[in-house]
Every structure is written in structure tokens, then in C-alpha cells.
Symmetry: C3
């Protein structure tokens, strides 16, 4: 069990210490499960009361407000400090360097000195694996693949022929990089396969999570920009271009040849049609379906997706349709009465 | 070919026999494909006519009504009897106990005497595998994993470090248990990974089907309750808590930290936002998107999800919008005429 | 680097040559990335101007219109010619025939003379693998499986016990064929597994893409018709019958026992409920949810799915709900005024 004094933690995290610097901290826990030997964290003001009651030995906070008398580490970005504290208390074990004897390696593997290839891995020919990269059990790496430094491939990842992975990328279990795109030339109702001879490029610091699929380009590249994070069970079709620092949440589908501008966010189960141009910093709501290109800074919801506010207003109007029907029926009754009395009068 | 007399089957199933107990039955088939050597079943009154015409040698039924003269096995739960009959005629072959020599096993494996580890499996250190559990070809089991008794892991399942699987669990091919959750601390648009150091716990009698993903908790546990059955390609995010005996149908997505009460059902492609509390015995319709916490016994449809009846009424009203537009136009014409005649009169 | 003269290409593709037959062509590229050594293609009139400006040494076209003075190959089906040209310049490398020594093979394997089983594959007992079929690294093939000739199984595909794959099928990485269907007999809220003892049959020329799942039938067969192409992350449930030459785009879900008529198309993230009969040549729009059986030639959109035109009209009406509310309010004001003046008069 690793432990740090609170003063050490303050220094490691670049945080300001308030309280007992000598207190020994053995781990990090949420407010409701922390004890005196743990540090906890408050990054949502909603939980101030819970923080006040927590048994935590110290708390990572943004401000000292409302927590007088507690041991605190004050930092600009408490959630980032949580990430760093988790790394401190849970360092990733570094597997043995080299190739496990049960693995099968093709000719001309170029392997970084501290890189590790786990058991039962299949590596093709002319593969480059950067230093300190870890290839987990059961992975398959195709011919001519290049993987950068400090990457982690979790178990059973597939990277097919010719694809390129940048530095510090993380691929979660079951992810498939470089499967064939869905391309067919249909003649008289019969679908003839169009060979998919392009590749996939993941730039640096990309994470692709479990059982997500990224298709290779028909020709050229499918490209995922630096720092983009893709959740589980997402589909990225052939020739898609995702900009830097995007977030694509679980079960999103991006159709072929669509471009997503950087810093965009797609919430869960959203989708976008093919051959579109999605501007930078676009926000797409859960389950939305984007059917047209949109400019930078768009905020979209619904299907077909419209500006989020407009969609919400429309949803509200739809909810009041019953009331509107009653108003129309009332108008009809009243107007008939007026018409009737008009006839009587004439 | 295994065979049973109808009298034997009646006893094995705890059913009441009507007809020829000596008839030999060699298998179970649907009504339209059963012959005199098969038993069939009727668990939906819609198919009574088909049952009457079936060539089946016997039929599993709930009641003798309308099937006079047929060989019948009468039971309270005909579909449960179908399940048991399928087990009788299709016993799962038990693979050789022990570890296949092509597999790679870390230190300190604790393996039940009749447990079986198939070919090309990678097992980490300090793993416990219960008695009679079967690990299929190509599976990857991480360090410190505990798997109970009588489990079946189909080919290419991944259970990552530290996760715990109860007794009698079934994991279908390609399922991933314990992948990292989607957790990032975003600072100035850059997403910093939050280490995911929790685990996944599957309680007893859970089934997770093909290519479904269950993320480990950030801290603590993602937990799937006893008897819950999860279909293919479902996403269960970090820190999710699913109660006992739930059904989550294909392509459902449950976002992070959401709690689902026991006996709840999510139909295909439904989703629920994060950090919500979904009451017990909640029914969520296909493609619905639940955006708020709901009490026990809720029945929901649409997106954003509302009570199912209200949603259906709204859908019907939307269908009649064209008619309403015509009524409004008609009102406008008639009212103009009334206004005109009023002007003439004054 | 392979190269062909334009005259050779014309002959290989059955195209009409216009221009310099001696020009040497070394590859095929999109219009904007082709150089004088490449052939490019124009199959959408939208790109005529781009074609005119392209540096391509030759262009595959349907007609000579608007491209006077360029080297052209004129063909009836330019996109099919693109597919064939890609095959010419990117022939799939044929792996070594036979079984890689790291693979594990059960008794009685029947292997075509030029078939190839890659590294770390697990093959069950009594398996038949047709001639020239390629089984990629890490695949798992169950007992009694039959795979036809000229198939390609990409890495980490699973085909479970008893399933049958036709000739010229392609299975992309991570696809699962023959996982258990989602079948339970629920008694008092507890879900008892119904053994799934049927199989999956893929007819000839089927392609199943990455991480898609096809469940085995409860009894009998789940069947995917000849020439049908299924994109990534699609769910095909037990007992589904998909006709010939269908297209099922990414993240589509087909529920249990539903039949899809031939030549039908499901766009991305669409779904269909169970036990339905979907007519031939049905078109289902993106994200649509089909809840009823439909006749041949249906064109559907929305959820619950309706005829596409009706759905679009309804969507437009919903967008104009705000305007309608104003018209109703205006009617109410005007009618009140009329009623008021009527009262004054009487």
C-alpha cells in the first residue's frame, strides 16, 4: 500500500495546502466512501453538504468556502487533480518488456526497447511498435502497422494492415481499427464489393474504447484527430475525418466521408449522415440525427437535427397539441353558434 | 440420438400426460416443423389452429382446450417446459477439465477440479475459476479476476483485471467486462484521462451477450444484479448499477452512474442519461431516451421519454396535424365571412 | 509497383478508350488526389468541374460529355469499374496455404488444398473449410462448422458450433456468428434461459462487417440471404430471415423472428420489432423504427415508422406548430370580438 503525506500530495499536484500537512493519505475515494486515511474531492458545488459530512482525511477543492476546519488541497482544476491522484495511488503495472513466447511475430518487427507484447498476440510483417508501448493479450496487429510510443492496446484489439497509431494512444478491448468500409457498387440490385485500400490514422493521444469500429478509407485515410476520445460501440465509417479534441460518446455513428470539426461533442446514440461537413465546436444531443452540414458552434438536437433550442420548443409545442385540439374544437362550436344566430337574424 | 417416452417426459417436466405415454419422442420442434417423433409446444393461443394441424407426436400446452384427441403434456408454464425439454434433448457437451496446453496461465491460478480452460486463452495472475466453469477459446482473463462456479465464457470474451463474476453466469462471444469507463477531466478543451481503478461485479445468474461492453467503475464498482440478462451490443457505462432480474435488450445504452431498479425492462435501442435513478419494474419502450429519474413502475416511451400512454396520444395527435391545419383554415374562412357580414350589417 | 497502359485497362474493364492508349497508369485515386500516373473516376455529375481540373492521367466516366480532350475510359457502370480497377492495382495477398503451427485444430478437419488458417486460430472438431478460404489470426471456429470456398475471415471472427457459411463470404474483424439468441422463459419475474439449439446460415456472397452479431436460432436457422451486406455493429437476432441482396447499414437492429424481403435497405441506426414481415424492396430511413409488417416496396421513416413522405410532411407540420398556435390565438381574439359585437347588437 502506497501512501503520501498531504504535504507531499500538495507538492505533487501543485495544490495549496490548508490544514495538517503530516496527515498520511493512502488512497482516493468518493465523499461517501472515504475514511480518515483517504483524500476525497469536491468538483460540483451540489455536494458541499456531503463534503462537510464526509469522513475523508482531506478534500481536493476549488475553493475553501464552506469547508472551514477541514484539511484541503486547493487547486484550479479539482477533477484534473483527481485524475493525477488516481495515477499516483494506482500506477499502471509495467509488463515485462519484449515479446511473450506464445505470440507470433512476422518478419522485420521494430520493437521499442521497453515495449511489451503480451501472450497470444499475432503481429504481421514490417510492424513498428514504439518504446514503452504495451500490446495486450490476444491482440492482432496486421502487416505494415506503425504504433507510436507509450500506447496501450488492451486485450483483443485488432489493428489491420497498414494502419498508423500515434503516440500515447489507448485502445480498449475489442476495438477494431482498419476494418473494410461499407462500399459496394450496386448494378441491377447486386452489390459488388469495392476494395477498401486506404488506411486508418489515429493521431497522438487518441483513445478508442471497447468494441468500437473504425473503418479504413476506400482510398486515402480515415483520420481521428489528436486528443479525440471515442467511447464504446461507436461506428466511424470509411473516409471519416474527426478533428482534434472531439468527444464521441457511446453508440454514436458517423457515416462515410463526413468531417467533424475539432472540439465537437456527440452525445450517446447520436448519428450523422454521410458526406457532411460538421463545423468546429458543434454539440450534438443524445439520439440526434444530423442530416445536413452545419457551421461552427452549432448546438443541435432531435431528428432530423435542428438547433437545440428550436427542437426543445417544438417538443414542448407537441406536448401541448391536445390542448390546442380542444381550443380548435371550442372555436368550431362558438363559430357555429355565431353563424347560426347570424342566419336567424337575416 | 437421445429419446424419451412421453410418460418419461411428463415425469421429468412435472407435467400432466394426456394420451399415449409410450410414444417415443426424439426432439422438440416448432409446430410447423414437428413430425410424429417430435414434441412441439403451444404457448400463444394465436397458434391453436396451427397446433391442431401440426404433425407433432405430442404438444406442450397450458390447457387441453381445443386439442382433443392429441397427445398432450399439460403444464403451468409451457415455455419454461420448452426450455427444460431443449436441455434434455440438447445437453451441453462438457469439455475436458483442466487447462488446454496452448493457453497461457499466470501465477497462482485457483481452478475448480472440473473447470475447463479452452485453447489459446490468456489468464492473468491470482485468478480464481470456480468448479465446472468453462472458459472458451481465445478468452482473456485479467489479473485478480474471480469467476464463480458453473459459468460459461463463450469464445473471445475479455474479463479485465480485478473483475468479479458470480455463479452460473454466461458471457457470450466478444463480450468485454471491465473496459475503462469514459472519464476525462477537460481543461481548456483538452481531455485528460481519469484513471478508471474500480471494477465490474456480475452477480449470480447474469447473462451478458455478444459484443456487449460493461465498463469498470472509476472508483468502486459497476454492478449488474442477480438474474439480469443483457442482450448483444449493449453499453453499460462506468458506475452503473443494474438491479436484479432486469432485461436490457439489444443496443441499449445505460450512461454513467445511473441506477436501474430491479425487474426493469429496456427494449431495443433505448437509452438513459447519466446519474439518474430509474425505479423498480420500469418499462422503457424501443428507441426511447430517458432523460429524468422516474419512480417505480413507470412505463415510458419516446424521446425525451414520457409516460407511454401520453407519448402514444401525442404521436396520434401529430399524425392528425394535417387535419387540424385544415380545420384552422376552415375556421379562418368562416370567421372572415362572419366578420364581413357583420361589417355589412353595421 | 504494378502498372498498366490505358489500352490494357480498357480491355480488362471492357471500357471504351478515348485518348492516349499508351499512357502508363500506376494506380487509382480520387479526382483531387490523382496525378498524371493515376486513373480517377467520375460517377456523380456534381463533380464534372472537379474532373475537368483534375491532374489525373485518365478518368473513368459514363459519358464523354464535358470532358473533351481528356483521356477517358467510358463504361456503363463507372463505379463498378472503380471496384475492378482497385482489385487490379491492389490484389489481395494470398497467405500460405495450410494451418499455422500456432493454431489449434480439432479432429477431422477437412481443409481445401489452398485454404489458409492463420496464427492463433482455434478450430473445433469436424470442421469443413473450402478451397482458397482464408481464416485470419485469432479466429475461433466451433465444432461442426462448414465454411465454403473463397471466403475471408478477418482477425478475431467467431463462428460458433454448427453454423454454415456459403462461398465467397467475407466476415470482418470481431464479427460473431452464432451467439445465443436472447430467449428466456420468465416465471414470477425470474428469467430462465431457453437453450438456443439452432444455427446461423450465411448464404453465398454475404458480407458481415466488424463487431456485428448474428444470433443462432432457438430451433432451426437464422438465415442471411445471398449477396446481403451487413455493416458494422449491427444486431441480427435469433430466427431472423434476411432475404437476398439486402443492405443493412451500421448499428441497425433486427429483432427476433422478423423476415426481411430481398433487395431491402435499412439505413443507419434503424430498427425493426420482432415477428414482423417486411416486404421486398423496402427502404427504411436512418433511425426509423418499424413496428408493423409492411408490404413490398414500402418506403418508411420515423418512429413509429410511417410512409416516408407522410413522415416528412408530419415533420414539416411539427416545425410550423408555433405558427399554427398563433393562428389559433388570432382566431380566438377575432371570434371574441364578433361574439361581443353580437351581444351588443341583441
Amino acid at each position: 500500500m502506497r501512501s503520501h503525506t498531504l504535504a507531499e500530495l500538495a507538492e505533487l499536484l501543485g495544490a495549496e495546502l490548508v490544514g495538517d500537512g503530516e496527515r498520511s493519505i493512502e488512497g482516493i475515494r468518493p465523499l461517501d466512501r472515504a475514511g480518515p486515511e483517504h483524500i476525497s474531492f469536491l468538483h460540483n458545488p451540489k455536494y458541499v453538504a456531503q463534503a462537510a459530512e464526509s469522513r475523508a482525511g482531506a478534500i481536493l477543492v476549488h475553493t475553501t468556502d464552506d469547508l472551514a476546519g477541514r484539511n484541503l488541497l486547493i487547486c484550479d482544476q479539482p477533477y484534473l487533480a483527481v485524475a493525477r491522484t488516481l495515477e499516483l495511488f494506482h500506477p499502471r503495472p509495467r509488463p515485462e518488456p519484449g515479446v511473450h513466447p506464445s505470440s507470433v511475430v512476422g518478419d522485420d518487427l521494430e520493437l521499442g526497447p521497453d515495449a511489451s507484447v503480451g501472450p497470444l498476440v499475432s503481429i504481421g510483417r514490417r510492424v513498428v511498435i514504439g518504446d514503452r508501448t504495451v500490446i495486450g493479450p490476444g491482440c492482432v496487429v496486421g502487416d505494415g502497422v506503425r504504433i507510436g510510443e507509450d500506447c496501450i492496446l488492451h486485450p483483443r484489439v485488432v489493428v489491420e494492415d497498414g494502419c498508423r497509431i500515434g503516440d500515447r494512444c489507448i485502445l480498449q478491448a475489442g476495438a477494431v481499427i482498419g476494418s473494410d468500409g461499407y462500399g459496394f457498387a450496386t448494378v441491377d440490385g447486386v452489390h459488388h464489393k469495392v476494395p477498401q485500400v486506404g488506411i486508418v490514422v489515429l493521431e497522438d493521444d487518441v483513445e478508442i474504447q471497447a468494441n468500437t469500429t473504425v473503418d479504413r478509407a476506400t482510398m486515402g485515410e480515415t483520420r481521428i484527430g489528436r486528443g479525440t476520445k471515442v467511447d464504446n460501440l461507436v461506428q466511424l465509417a470509411h473516409n471519416v475525418q474527426v478533428g482534434e479534441h472531439c468527444l464521441l460518446v457511446s453508440q454514436v455513428g458517423i457515416s462515410g466521408s463526413t468531417k467533424i470539426g475539432r472540439y465537437s461533442v456527440f452525445a450517446g446514440q447520436a448519428g450523422v449522415a454521410g458526406h457532411l461537413d460538421i463545423g468546429e465546436r458543434t454539440m450534438v444531443g443524445a439520439k440526434a440525427g444530423v442530416m445536413k452540414s452545419v457551421p461552427d458552434g452549432s448546438v443541435l438536437g432531435g431528428f432530423p437535427a435542428r438547433p437545440q433550442k428550436e427542437w426543445m420548443k417544438t417538443q414542448a409545442a407537441v406536448q401541448r397539441l391536445g390542448a390546442m385540439r380542444e381550443r380548435v374544437a371550442d372555436l368550431e362550436r362558438r363559430l357555429s353558434a355565431v353563424e347560426e344566430s347570424g342566419k336567424e337574424r337575416s
